[in-house]
């Protein structure tokens, strides 16, 4: 499916904003974690609702994964999902000052904390560039150690289609890898278009 609900010019602007935003986010995450962060170039595409589970599974690869979701609210609204492949998040326990022995609640809280930091930094960065206020809900666990195909159920998705922005995260010295996906429902894309148009005018 092509991105037919934003123009080519808007798409380029979004790519630009996302690139810069990720750069800034990488710097501030590195400041919080105290380690160098690797961020991929954001990939932007539109997906139909029914394709979202498969798209997430394709990012996470085979096997088992967990996911954290967090809503972003404001002029831009939607949900961000952070996908962790099996146990990879344990690698970060030390960086966020968790104890050595992670019981189930603690390892879930760790996922939420990491998700909150990544989502806040990346989406906050994009919102800052687009000069719009953005707020976040408390993060919650979407899936805990399930097959990647079952991270999200297609039936539960209310939107018809969504704009998907995907970034891969890693830490230079660690095995930890995760994916951040920003999903905006089709009916919220108009606000994004307005914000992008403002951004283009000011260039």
């Amino acid at each position: 499916m092509s991105i037919d609900f934003i123009s080519d010019e808007q798409r380029e602007a979004l790519q630009e904003v996302a690139n810069i935003g990720m750069g800034q986010a990488g710097a501030s995450i590195a400041q919080v974690l105290g380690e160098f962060v690797e961020l991929s170039i954001p990939q932007i595409r539109a997906v139909a609702a029914a394709e979202i589970p498969a798209a997430l599974a394709a990012l996470a690869g085979d096997g088992v994964a967990s996911a954290v979701r967090q809503a972003f609210i404001g002029e831009l609204r939607g949900e961000a999902i952070v996908i962790f492949s099996e146990h990879s998040a344990h690698d970060l326990a030390e960086l966020l000052c968790y104890g050595d022995a992670l019981d189930t609640p603690a390892s879930r809280e760790l996922l939420l904390d990491i998700g909150n930091v990544l989502v806040g930094a990346c989406l906050g960065g994009i919102a800052g560039l687009l000069q719009t206020e953005i707020g976040f809900s408390a993060p919650s666990l979407l899936a805990d150690q399930v097959a990647t195909r079952q991270l999200i159920q297609a039936e539960t998705i209310a939107a018809r289609c969504a704009l998907l922005v995907e970034v891969r995260f890693g830490l230079e010295k660690r095995a930890f890898r995760c994916h951040l996906v920003m999903l905006m429902p089709d009916d919220a894309v108009a606000a994004l278009q307005r914000a992008l148009d403002r951004f283009i005018e000011e260039l």
Binding site: S28, I29, Q31, V32, G74, E75, L96, C97, Y98, P105, A106, R108, E109, L112, D113, N116, V117, G120, A121, G124, T132, E133, G135, F136, A138, P139, S140
Partner: protein, 440 residues
């Protein structure tokens, strides 16, 4: 979105709102020095704002998880985004006593805490404001709900188990009904065959006697041939004798009759075995000779066995055993058929050894084979209904489970001795007398 306009409400009003709102509100600067402490916090912590303002948060509350919380506050200062703790994962941040000293409940207040970045003079974050929400009631309701769900799912498991048992029982019922009707059919067929076999046998005895008489007459005639002087008659007789091959006929006739007699004996034996096996007239408890039962069972399944195995018998002397003979025969049949099917035909003829014995008040019947043997997993599951190692269509997976139940009904037990590649030995133990039955 524009930053909120300076409030029309007076600072005094806002201050009073923060002070009185029924949510914990506090703020710390980057060094964790407390800059705001509302009444909710004062009431629940027992420390007034006068006591804590200007103090370090971790000095006032040494029980706080310091490295973790410092990291969390730092992330809010650096990223300028909110951070959260949820009661479900971290029951509380501050050790506040619960609000139900009388009616009881949880030991400490359950809390959701949100850490908000505050930019007092625009630009970077200068304070982090914590809002503490009391989730104790929610947590209690949640716990009750969890208990209810656990109870329900336990009940559901018990029901599922019962349904499983019901299904197994129903299948066993079907199986035993099937066996019973096969038994009835067999007995009916046996009965029907008995009549014609009776008159064929009787006629054959007469036929045998007549033949002997005819042959002795012919022998007498033959010895009188020398007395015949009519050359034409003699040559006719000689030609006829040659054409009929009379010598062969005289020899073969008794042999044919003997073979037919043997055949009849075998038919009678099979019919008897069928009747024994099904015990159609005797569905009640009886005292039976298990060696005889084992023999008649072996005859019934002989076709399954004869091309695959030699059968060795090693019978002890057994007392008559109180049993449902037809049902025990069904157990022996299952064991013998399984033994035959476990033999690998590529390895030539196997051996099935049938042994019986007697020890104290128990008798045992053993079926041993030189077949493939069973793994631990198979041994563990062998009595489960529908468990089968046979190809689809060959086994119902009910034989052993039905056998198990039959032996249980006799208050007996089945012992298994088997290992892969080592063959299998099943030993069925049954008591000579059932409880409540007087010793003879």
């Amino acid at each position: 979105m524009n930053p909120p306009a300076p409030s029309a409400a007076s600072p005094a009003l806002l201050e009073s709102l923060v002070e009185r709102i029924d949510v914990g509100v506090f703020a710390v600067d980057r060094d964790a020095t407390i800059a705001l402490w509302n009444r909710f916090m004062a009431v629940h912590s027992g420390k007034s704002s006068a006591e804590v303002l200007g103090q370090n948060l971790f000095a006032v509350f040494p029980e706080l998880p310091r490295p973790w919380l410092q990291k969390k506050l730092e992330s809010v200062f650096v990223l300028g985004n909110s951070a959260f703790t949820l009661w479900e994962l971290r029951p509380y941040l501050f050790r506040f006593p619960h609000t139900r000293p009388i009616t009881g409940g949880l030991d400490l207040m359950r809390q959701n805490v949100t850490f908000l970045p505050l930019r007092v003079s625009g630009g970077s974050v200068s304070l982090v404001c914590g809002t503490v929400f009391d989730y104790t009631d929610t947590a209690m309701a949640h716990a009750r709900l969890q208990d209810a769900i656990a109870a329900l799912s336990k009940e559901k498991d018990a029901q599922r188990e019962l349904i499983g048992k019901l299904e197994a029982a129903q299948n066993q019922l079907l199986q035993s009904e099937k066996m019973a009707s096969i038994g009835q059919l067999a007995a009916g067929v046996a009965h029907e065959i008995n009549n014609p076999v009776g008159f064929v046998n009787s006629n054959l005895q007469s036929l045998k006697r007549y033949c002997e008489q005819m042959l002795s007459l012919i022998a007498a005639y033959q010895s009188a041939e020398a007395q015949i002087s009519d050359a034409a008659l003699l040559s006719t007789i000689t030609a006829l004798k040659q054409a009929l091959d009379i010598e062969f006929l005289q020899e073969d006739l008794p042999a044919l009759i003997k073979e037919s007699e043997d055949g009849l004996v075998r038919i009678k034996k099979i019919v008897e075995d069928l009747k024994d096996f099904s015990h159609v007239d005797e569905s009640d408890w009886q005292h039976a000779d298990l060696n005889a039962g084992l023999d008649s069972t072996l005859n019934v399944v002989w076709n399954e066995v004869k091309y695959k195995a030699r059968v060795e018998k090693n019978y002890g002397t057994l007392p008559a055993v109180a049993c449902l003979a037809a049902q025990l025969n069904q157990v022996f049949m299952n064991l013998i058929i399984n033994a035959a099917q476990s033999l690998d035909q590529a390895q030539g003829m196997g051996t099935i050894t049938l042994s019986t014995g007697h020890q104290d008040d128990w008798v045992w019947v053993e079926v041993q084979d030189t077949g493939r043997g069973m793994s631990e997993d198979v041994k563990r599951r062998i009595f489960e209904p529908f468990f089968t190692t046979k190809p689809v269509g060959q086994g119902t997976g009910l034989g052993m489970s039905v056998s198990y139940n039959i032996v249980q009904k006799h208050h007996g037990r089945i012992e298994i001795d088997s290992a892969p590649g080592q063959g299998t030995r099943f030993r069925v133990w049954v008591p000579v007398r059932q409880t409540g039955e007087a010793a003879p």
